[in-house]
Structures are given as C-alpha cells and as structure tokens.
C-alpha cells in the first residue's frame, strides 16, 4: 500500500485539502502535493501503460525524469496529453486520466503485446511486414499506427494564452538547489546582474531532503537564509516554476516559466517563454539517480531511492509499507533510514558491494536493518504491484537465494550529473571512473560570440558528490561566471557543510552480472519505450554499433523523458556488448528542450489577430465596411472584389470590369511601392537598375520600366516619374516595394558607394487611388482645382496641385487601357479623398473595383503581370519587351546574364495571346502538349498558360502564355492538356485583345 503518513511532508499544507479526479475517481490531496504524490497518497500506484508492450506502470521518480507517470490532464480546450504527474502541482478540480490502454488502465487488451514480447524485439518491424507489399499500407501500418502514441490528441483550440519576454543578464544561474543558490549569491555579491531560475515551485533542491547540514544549520534553514539574502540584492532576480529549457549559441537561453499551470482559468498567460541573453550561464542542475537493471525493475512499486525519500519527506507519503532497498552506493541508505524513521518497514538493504563499512551503513545496521552485501535482485515478483523480490549473488547468474516479501523496492544505481544544458551548445563531457558517470569537461565548454567559454557548471551538475564539495564548487562557479562577465568577485569563503563520509560506489550495469537471456529481456532500460538490456545487446550483435545506431534501432532514450534515466545504463550495456570502454562509445547528442515545452509557449502572443502583422491601407476600413472579399498580397490584404447582396464573387468581378470599361471605377492602389531616388547620380543609378533608360526621362513625365536581377530574370516593373532635375519617383509592384527599396540600398551601399544617391521608401506616405474609365476625367473635373485635360496632363504625364482641396499628385497612367488617373494624396487624408471621390462619382455610376477586375482588364490589354507572366525564370526578352531594353546602355543589372548561351538563344518560350477555338476559358496553368516524349518518358511540353480569364468585355475566354517560338507561330492552333488529361485547342494570337490602337486611354 502506498499511503499518506501522519507526519512529515515539508512541502504540503495539511490545512488545505484539494479535490481531484483520476480516471473519474474522486480523490483528495493537499496543497503543495504533486499529482504523483497525491496519487500515491490514495494508493494509486498503477498510473499508466508502457508504449510498446502495454506493461502496467507505476510512479518511478519524483521529478522531471519520470518516464511512466504521464497523464491526460484537463479536458476540452484545456486537455494536455503526456503531462508528468511528478511535476504537476495539484490544484482544486484537477482532472486526469491515464494513457495508452483499452478499455481501461486495469484491463488493457494491448497487454497481449507483453506476452508476445519475445517476438517483438528491437527493430522487429524492419524485418517483417515486408510481404505481401499491399499489406503494409492496408494491414500492418494501420495496426502499428493504432498502437502508436501515448496521450490523447486534443481536439479543440487552446483556451489559454502565452507570451514571451526578453531578459538580459550578466549571469544566468539555472537550478535553485544549494549549488544554484550559492552560485547566484557569489555572482550577485560581485555585483553582476543575476537571474536564478528553478523549475520546481520551491527552492533548495535535494539538500533539505537529504538532511545536509550547512554552516552548522539544517539545509532547510540555510536555504531560507540564503534566499532572504538573495532577495535583498537589487541585482538578483529569483524565479521559480521556470525551467532552463535550452542553451543556444552566443549565450542565448530559453526559460520556460509555467506562470499559471497551477492556477488554471486565471486570466494570466499560461506559460511565458523567456529569451535570455546571458554573458555567462551557470548550470546548477543537480544530478539524476540511475535505476538498476534487474528483471522486473519496471513493476509498479519499484522506484528510485531518492524518489521514495522525496515522497516521504516532502509530501508525507509512503510508497509502500515494506520497502526493499537495492543499491550500489551509500546514498540509498538514507532512504532506508528515512523510511525507518517514518515508522515503515525496511526488510532488507541489498548492496552489490562486497563490503560496506561506511557510517551510513553502520547507522542502518544500528537501526536494525538487515544489510545483504555482494547481493543483487534476481527478479521482482508481482504484476501490477510488487509483491516481493528474489535475492541472488551479484556475481552469479541469478540463482535465487531467498525470496523477500515487500510491496516496494527502492533502487539506486548511482548518480548522473544533469549535463543537458551544458551539452546543448557543444560542451563536452569526460567519463568519471570513480562515480561511473559523465561530467562536464571544464576545458571544453561551449563557446560564445567571442570564442569565450560561456557555461560553467556548479554542484552535482559538475560531478561534486558531497554537500561540502557542492558548495565549494558552486561558490567557485558563481565567482568565475561573475569574473568572466566583467565583475570582481568578493573574497567571501564558500559555506561549509558537515562531512558526509561515504564509501565509493560500484558501477553495476546488470543485475546479476551473469544474468540469463530470460532475465535480460525483463530488465528495462528505457521504461517508456520498452527498451530492455536484451534489445541493446541485440542491436550490438546486428552491427548497430554506434551509440546513435543503437538509439535509433531500439528507440532507447527517444521517449518523452529523453533517456534521463536510461541513457547511461543503455550505453554501458552497449559498451559491454562491444567490449569497448564507455567513454569510447560516448553519449548520444543532448538536444533542447531539457523537458518538453508547450507549442503555445513557443508561438507566444502570435495567434488570432496578431498571428502576423496585417498591413492595412488608409482605406482598409471602408473596404471592410463595403463587403470587400479579401485577397492576401504579402502582408497586405486587398479587396479582390466587392460583391453586392445576392451576387457571387465572380459576378461582382465581371460587373466591376464592365462598369469600369463603360463608366468609371475606383481602385485602392495604395499598396503600390513608391520609392524616391534623388541625387546627382540618380539618373545613372536608375539606368543601371532598369533595363531601359531613365536618365533621359523629362521632368513631368512618366516611363514604364523593368528591373531584372543579376541572373537576368525579370523581377519587378512599374512606372517611373521624374520629379525634378535630380529626383525620380519609382513605382513598384505591391509585393516588390520593400524588396526593391532594399535592392537599391544594397547596390548603393555595397557596390556604388561613391555614387551620390539617396533613396527613401514613401510607399505608406501616400494613399494612391486610380480613377479609371471613360468618365474618369469628368469625375476629377467635378472635384475641381486642377486642370486634368488632355492638353495639360497628357498620357504618361504627371502634375501636382490641389484636387477637391486635397494635396494631390496626379499621374496619367493606365493599367487597364482606359482613360485613367492615379492620384496620390497623403495617407492621413486617403480615406477622406476616397469618400470625396465616391461622392462626386456617384453621378457617373462610379463603383470601386478590386484586384481581380484589375487583373482581367490588364490581361485584356495584354499587359504583363509580375508573378503571372513572370515566375523568376522569365527574362524580358521572353515577354516581347525588347522595346523596354535599352540597346544603348553598356550595362544594367541582368545584362551580362542575358548574354549567356541559354538566354541569348532566340529559341525560347515567348509570350503570345491565346484564344480557345470554342471561346471557353483555358484552365489555369495548363501546358501545351506535343506529340512526342522525352528520354524520361514525359510528354513533350512546349508552352504554358500564364494568365487566363473570362473577359466580360469580350464575352469569351482570353489567355496569355509562353510558347516555344510563339511570336513566329501566330494563327497556329495548339493543344493544351488539362489535369484530367483531356485537351483544349487554342489559337496563337496577338496578346492585346482589346483596343489595340490604344484609343481609349489616349483621350
């Protein structure tokens, strides 16, 4: 039985009872409990099922290393799968369910895998399910997938919110045990800005549980005093419930603060992800106890010895009435003594070491505990709960000497420093023979921005094993970090701890040493993923010799605990199987996060409306209020069309085209890029940027221009206006504005830095509105204030002045083929100007139109669109734009590229118009298909559709496309293939479908 004790429980508040449910059962715990402690207090040792064999599993540990006790926490929009019960703080109303079983935790049909375990060794699926071929997809894989996964998949969107925080410190100390506290103190006293973080809700780590004595007082008191001292320091910040999740390059560290996990439903952000930039990082992350590998070490009731102690001391919970302790080191004796003190029975301490005479052993003997040395456990008895252990000689093959009844086993295989954070960014390890663990090699620390070491370890994380060593090491680490961050440490001595003499541990990787196969296939290394000693040995035998191969072949260490308990044991077994030394075999790579962190925290505030910036023009609100159907264009959102009640989007588009062609339309063109280029060398500069000549443009005039990249491909186009002698205004595509502005800056700063040119991106300074259609001039005349007649403002001219009282710059340019004005007014007045236009336009039937109508009208005129006719592989020559490529210029960006053999070749796909024979609309993006096939058996393709629309103006489909030698093939009928492999015939025609002579725009 596991149960609540009447005494002990330093972390719980017995005055405050909390109710919770587990698998629907209503249970009670105390404030301060973890869910695991509360479950144990309610005798709920069985908490889940393992991944592969569905073995019954109990609570094994008391912290973040726990592999078994994973639950579905909460429900609905607050369901969180795979939550570790050992790190979940109990709160009132908590609901949890166990995972990975059907129909119930107690009776799980998946357990059949357990009886088949012999047939399911590591990597069995690589060797089977191969034949028949279709069966993998239809039978085997669905079966394997059904059994995949642990926790339930949430179905709903998350009800909580998350945020980020940027913190800059001199010294970040990770881990708030006595080592972390002392390191923070030493660094803080030196004057460094220190942030000390601890994943648990309380401070002090192991020392108070272990009964350490520091500066003559119990560790608990020393912790309290030290906390007080730290809190008094202005330059030190303490933060608990905050895990050091990862250490990255240049002193970047992630802190995962669980702000409101323990108070769900509060209005606080659930998690806060701290992005910490530290000059120096101290990892004082302690050490993790290792399990021992004996048969049945996974049966509920077998626990880590320190965990057993934690439950008794911290929560007043006893995991069992009769606990057998099995160990290879002195520390587990503390557990035995602690149980004894709590009035519980410890029938035996099983110690693999031949002779133990340390003070702790003496104390145990004095307490009346039977100590069996040189022995091990042959196997644990029981299925869903330990009922006893069989004792054997450690040196032998497992013949049972004696059976001992018990309901719990506390095991200790020694301690491994928590080196994860040290290793994330490249810190290297050394093998410590005496303690049989890897510890950080201070000579090969992670290096930072200047190549300097930026991580130091402190305490047990360094491999220090007694409280005295821990404190001395931590004090030195804190001082070293402060010094490296540019501070002078104070010369205070490190605190002293009472001596803790102990006897050396004895590494034991298998119990007993000569265990048979049957025993080895019952010795769990990775509890969650069901990897056993026999599996690692099999991997080695089959040549998966690299520790990385073993990991991937057996899945050792790949579970949610990332092998915190299993990795060292596993690689020791591997080394043994290979006959190599452990350090030679090495570890797998430690990767962030230290323990899993929520996706919500990573995404932070970026969800819903602020998932991404949404760029709005000054007229955005008007469009919204008038039913715009939106289209994302970069981060902008532009009206695609404005459907009226009862109208489809397509109908709206057609109406907008016709209305603009017949009367007058209004377009919000504010997103167009507007870049001013000024200086004595501006003309020369633009001549390099554009394929055509811009230096010769007259003041007051506009010219359409093309820009290519150095690879020769067309990258942007737009109308350039010359403002004055040394100033040009370049319009770019909406998507191109920022890119082209940066492109200009790049060339000016990095290539032609001696040219006198300044550029500025004025895109957002202006609202730009196109007034388009036969009545456009009338509308502007109504507005009044400026002469917009053909004579004063001819096609491709611009002028500045007042229009309807607004400061306006009016360009007579046309992307539709109609009489058209584009008018720029200051953005702050954009909405007012738009509304003024709507008002005077009413008499002319003016209606707004969206981007789709714009696209159709430009296609009717045969104008190219960047992104449609171009795709990054098209050069201007392909588009028949030779007229826009200056022959006179020696150079422009892209010119040399266009002289390469493949581009200089006249034999390319070139722009033409396309008309289906039946007037239908060619499908988007389809290809012209020839008769033959190529060497790879693909049909010959010799052209493709780049833009295709139904033209409301012409009442039939029109298209543009790139066709092999297209312009030489006018009139030819070619076939286009559709995705369903049928064909549509189309005739090659001139790409200008409407008003070829340009009479409509030139009025």
């Amino acid at each position: 039985m596991s149960t609540r004790l009447a005494t002990q429980g330093r972390l719980i508040n017995r005055d405050k009872r909390l109710e919770f449910t587990f698998n629907g059962k209503r249970l009670q715990g105390y404030e301060g409990d973890t869910l695991a402690a509360a479950l144990l207090a309610n005798d709920q040792m069985l908490v889940g099922r393992s991944f592969k064999y569905h073995r019954p599993r109990g609570i094994l540990a008391s912290g973040s290393e726990e592999p078994n006790a994973l639950v579905n926490l909460g429900e609905g929009a607050r369901l969180e799968p795979n939550q570790r019960a050992t790190t979940t703080e109990l709160f009132h109303g908590l609901t949890a369910t166990s995972q990975n079983h059907f129909p119930s935790l107690e009776f799980d049909i998946g357990e059949i895998n357990n009886s088949l375990a012999r047939f399911l060794p590591a990597g069995f699926y690589y060797k089977t399910f191969i034949h028949p071929r279709f069966a993998w997809k239809h039978v085997f894989e669905p079966f394997i997938r059904q059994s995949a996964g642990l926790g339930k998949a949430p179905k709903e969107a998350d009800a909580d919110r998350y945020e980020h925080f940027y913190a800059f410190v001199d010294v970040l100390v990770i881990g708030g045990g006595v080592a972390g506290l002392q390191a923070a103190r030493a660094a803080g006293e030196a004057g460094a800005r220190v942030l000390l973080i601890e994943q648990e809700p309380h401070w002090g780590g192991r020392a108070p549980v272990d009964g350490a004595v520091i500066e003559g007082k119990p560790a608990e008191d020393w912790v309290k005093d030290t906390l007080q001292a730290l809190e008094a320091m202005e330059n030190v910040t303490l933060r608990n419930r905050m895990m050091g999740a990862g250490v990255y390059d240049h002193g970047y560290a992630l802190g995962y603060e669980r702000v409101a996990d323990h108070i769900p439903g509060s209005d606080l952000p659930r998690h806060r992800l701290w992005r910490i930039r530290a000059k120096q990082i101290v990892t004082a992350t302690g050490a993790i106890e290792r399990p021992l590998s004996f048969a049945g070490n996974d049966i509920p009731g077998v626990m880590l010895a320190t965990a057993v102690r934690d439950y008794v001391v911290n929560y007043g919970v006893s995991p069992g009435d009769r606990t057998v302790v099995v160990t290879n080191n002195d520390d587990a004796y503390r557990t035995a003594l602690c149980l004894k003190r709590a009035g519980l029975d410890v029938p035996m301490i099983v110690d693999v070491r031949p002779l133990v005479t340390s003070p702790l052993a003496t104390e145990a003997l004095q307490a009346g505990i039977r100590v069996e040395t040189g022995k091990g456990i042959a196997k644990v008895k029981g299925r869903k709960r330990v009922t006893g252990v069989a004792l054997c000689l450690q040196a032998g093959e497992g013949s049972v000497i004696e059976e001992v009844k018990c309901d719990a086993v506390a095991m200790s295989g020694g301690f491994s420093p928590v080196v994860h954070l040290w290793s994330h960014c490249g810190g290297k390890l050394i093998w410590d023979e005496a303690n049989a663990h890897f510890r950080p090699d201070p000579a090969r620390a992670p290096t930072g921005a200047q190549g300097e070491a930026f991580v130091v370890t402190a305490g047990m994380a360094s491999g220090a094993m007694t409280t005295g060593e821990v404190l001395a090491d931590a004090d030195a680490a804190g001082k070293a970090a402060a010094r490296a961050a540019g501070f002078t440490p104070r010369r205070f001595a490190a605190p002293k701890a009472a001596e803790e003499p102990s006897e050396p541990m004895a590494p034991v990787w298998m119990m007993p040493q000569g265990a048979s196969y049957d025993l080895r296939m019952k010795m769990w290394l990775d509890f969650q993923n069901d990897v056993k000693v026999s599996d690692v040995q099999l991997a080695a035998r089959e040549g998966y010799e690299s520790v990385e191969h073993t990991k991937r072949y057996t899945t050792l260490g790949m579970a949610t605990d990332q092998g915190k308990l299993s990795n060292i044991n596993g690689l020791a077994v591997l080394a043994d199987a290979l006959g190599e030394d452990i350090p030679q075999v090495g570890t797998t790579t430690f990767r962030p996060p230290y323990t899993p962190i929520s996706m919500g925290a990573i995404a932070g505030e970026a969800r819903g409306e602020i998932f991404q910036p949404l760029r709005r023009t000054p007229i955005h609100g008007w469009h919204e209020a008038h039913g715009a159907h939106w289209e994302p264009v970069g981060h902008w959102r532009r009206p695609y069309a404005y459907p009226k009640a009862g109208e489809t989007v397509e109908e709206a588009v057609h109406r907008e085209v016709l209305n603009t062609r017949r009367r007058v339309g209004l377009l919000d063109a504010s997103t167009l890029g507007k870049i001013v280029v000024k200086g004595p060398d501006a003309g020369r500069f633009l001549d390099m940027l554009y394929t055509n000549m811009m230096s010769t443009l007259k003041v007051g005039r506009c010219r359409y221009g093309l820009m290519c990249n150095e690879n020769g491909f067309l990258s942007d186009d737009g109308v350039v206006a010359r403002i004055d002698e040394d100033t040009w205004l370049c319009h770019t595509t909406s998507g191109g504005a920022d890119r082209i502005h940066q492109w200009m800056e790049e060339w000016l700063q990095t290539e032609w830095w001696d040219w006198k040119v300044y550029v500025a991106n004025l895109t957002e300074q202006y609202a730009q509105i196109a007034v388009v259609g036969p009545d456009a001039r009338h509308v502007l005349e109504r507005l009044g204030g400026m002469d917009v007649s053909k004579e004063t403002l001819p096609f491709m001219g611009w002028q500045e002045g007042k229009l309807g009282g607004f400061d306006a710059r009016v360009f007579r340019i046309s992307f539709s083929g109609e009489l058209s004005y584009e008018i720029a007014v200051p953005a702050s007045q954009g909405l007012a100007f738009w509304e003024a236009l709507m008002e005077v336009g009413e008499a002319y039937g003016m209606q707004p139109y969206g981007t789709e109508a714009l696209h159709i009208m430009r296609a009717e005129k045969g104008f190219i669109m960047i992104g449609d006719e171009t795709d990054g592989t098209v050069i201007p020559q392909d588009l028949g734009l030779h007229w826009a490529i200056s022959k006179k210029k020696e150079d422009y960006l892209g010119k040399r590229a266009q002289a390469r053999s493949f581009m200089d070749n006249p034999d390319r796909w070139q722009l033409v118009g396309l008309e289906t024979l039946d007037g239908s609309v060619l499908p988007d993006g389809c290809y012209a298909i020839g008769e033959g096939t190529n060497a790879n058996g693909q049909a010959e393709m010799f052209g493709r559709v780049t833009s295709t629309y139904y033209s409301p103006t012409l009442g039939r489909g029109i298209a543009m496309g790139l066709v092999h030698n297209g312009p030489q093939r006018m009139g030819e009928v070619i076939r286009f293939g559709t995705p369903d492999k049928s064909f549509v015939e189309a005739r090659i025609v001139d790409p200008v479908f409407y008003d070829k002579e340009g009479e409509k725009q030139n009025v």
Binding site: H250, A449, Q450, G451, E745, E746, W753, R896, A897
Partner: protein, 107 residues
C-alpha cells in the same frame, strides 16, 4: 542565435534584427566578362568551413549593410566592419589571427 554588432549604429543585437546576405567581397562582373568569370561571380561560393567573410544588413535597425568575419564551425564572430571595402581590413585579419594563429585567407 547569433549576436552581432553593427559598425554603423553600434547596436549589438540578436540575429533577428539583422539579415544575412551571403559571401562578402565578391567582385561584380558585367558585360564583357568571360562566362567563367561571370558564373563564378554569381555562383561559385567559398562556403568556408572555418573563417568566413560575409555580408549582413541591419534590417530592423539602421538599414546599413556591413561585413562580418565569422567562423562557420564555432559561430564565433571575429569582428564586423563597414561594407565600403573590397577586402577585409587589417584589424580584422589581426583579430582572426589572434584566435586562429597561422590562419590565412583562402584564395
């Protein structure tokens, strides 16, 4: 997550304030250059495993392009310098040699 110092505005900021811009000190080849010269200008990258000279822009800051000498294996930065030069300045070379004795720039 690198930190870099912009030599123009002096800001020392994290990588997200900057934009990486590829190999530094490329010589532009235009009309009249050979196919090989032009191809190498556009494509043949040193892609050094070790000390590299590269371009960055202070995108979320002063907007200026600058150069950095960085190691692609350790990610340490030896220094940053202005973009208006055709080769790394002496101080930068010295800073590199200080930490990489005997290092010579690749041809």
């Amino acid at each position: 997550m690198l930190i870099l110092t912009c030599p123009y505005c002096g800001v020392t900021g994290e990588e997200t304030e900057f934009a990486a811009g590829g190999e530094a000190h490329l010589k532009r080849f235009g009309p009249g250059s050979s196919d090989a010269e032009f191809e190498s200008y556009l494509f043949a990258r040193k892609n050094e495993k070790g000390v590299t000279f590269e371009r960055w822009r202070h995108a979320n800051g002063c907007g200026k392009w600058f150069h950095a000498a960085r190691c692609t294996v350790t990610l340490e930065v030896f220094g940053t310098y202005k973009a208006q030069v055709t080769e790394p300045p002496k101080e930068i070379l010295a800073a590199i040699r200080k930490r990489r004795p005997g290092w010579e720039p690749a041809a």
